[in-house]
Amino acid sequence: MMSNLVFLPIFIPLFFGALLVFFNKKQKATVNLSFLVVLLSFGVSLYLSYHVFSNGPLTLETGGWKAPYGIILVADKLSVIMILAVNVIALTAAIFALSSVTEKMVEHYFYPLFFLLIAGVSGAFLTGDLFNLFVFFEVLLMASYGLIIIGGSKHQFRESVKYILLNLFSSILFVTTVAFLYSVTGTVNMAQLGERVGQVEQQGILTGIGILLFIVFATKGALFPLYFWLPKSYIVPSPIVSALFGALLTKVGVYSMLRVFTLIFSHKLELTHTFFIWIATITMIIGVIGALSTSNVKLIIAYNIMPAIGFMLLGIGTFSAESLAGTIYYLVHDMAIKAALFFLAGLLVWHAGTSNLKKMGGYIKTAPLMGWMFFVASLILAGIPPFSGFIGKYLLLRGAMDEGHYIAAGVGLLSSLLILFSVIRIFIGAFWGELKEEPKQPLRTSGLAASAVLIAISILLGVGAEWFYPYVQAAADSLIDPQIYIDYVLKE
């Protein structure tokens, strides 16, 4: 079914993001309008997902150009789940922003960049065209380049230079890969690519192109050999920006892999997907080692992004309906809990006036609520039942075991334990014991409220898994059989 509804999750943040550029001096109006826009966008995404799950996927052929020729936007089950998750994160970020975004940040276009980031991420989830995926990657990266530099401190410049250069390089590689793919298959439409890849004779070249694309997405998603830019550059900006990055940016890389390697490059599973499982295993190990190696609170959380990405890749590598469902479940869970943890870490650092764990202690007396929220968030992150991390991990590990990937599953189990250890270390170090130093700043209520909402969602995702699982399973089922997507988009 054709509908302009598909365009709205991109259009609303894009339009208001552009509009807000002109109001950067009007603090109060900007904050209020942004909140309304986020609510509106959330409402639209909720309606879109309801519509897609009850009436089937929606497409929009922009400008009336028929499917393989024009730019096409597709909202299938996976896309709307992701769009909904993005809008939940945006909503809680807007709540967190109420007390954490300073006048100076608003003046330096925090809100326009925030909305452009949301627009870019939503676009990447909705597009049905590989080149357009690159364009939306650029939109969200440009917004992130702006966001990472807001504040303009010395170390922010230092770390963001590397972040930007690396992302730029991977973007150029992306364009080059699209050109390769175009010359071999003669199309950039994902559905038509999925169809043609099976017909083209030169399977070897296609596998090579697939691996090139994997390198691009692995850079964006911070997988094993290409992760080194992530931890430091994620901790330098303001906590709300770190939370947005941690929750959204790497997940776009994972989503792209999920889409591309189920729809287009699924012809040489034994080669590519076995490779993925090894990369996933090493990523988990390296991420956990990083998280254990530092006593900087923000850095511990930033390193914890990597094992999570490893888990999701494990699901893609295993490539069964169950493990793909696990990947999607884990993706949504991780977006919520990473944002919550970055929020809480930011609050903790403000409260303590330092991010060094060794200088903290005893804050359970001054901030009991935050302490216990941090504890629950740690349990959720590590995947202690009955929280949401458990459901995703259970599906992933059972999927991996069923397919005989015992080493990867074992490493996954071990790394979960070490993840728990690394975050509980923050809880013990910062909240137990005697009060070492008086807190520098009081807690910010809106920050606590935003984290509480996200933690509540995570708990709900875990306890109410029976309600959510059918939707996730339906999305995974549509991924495992790409013909549904192809037929739908090309309308044969």
Partner: protein, 112 residues
Amino acid sequence: MEILMSILAGTLFAAGVYLILQKQLLKIVLGTALLSHGAHLFILTMGKLNRGKPPILIEGVKNYTDPLPQALILTSIVISFGVTSFLLVLAYRTYQSNKTDMMDQLRGTDDE
């Protein structure tokens, strides 16, 4: 013609990669600019070069150039303009606040 263009694109890529591996920030920015030019040429080459033909498909016209690579390049050029200008400003501001433009001095582990 395609061979020549491929060699040119390859040269641009090589020069770009060489510049990116330098220590000075400005050279790195120039390297990214060269790399994106290489990528654009590459897209054009991959869409098969047809000189002097219109990039339009009208009924009856058999000889036309594939318009898609040109549309892709146009988008990609605009993006790379934006990113390059941003990078130049960023490089300047980084130099100002860190008092150096050498990459090996731009690392550090200040645990604040």
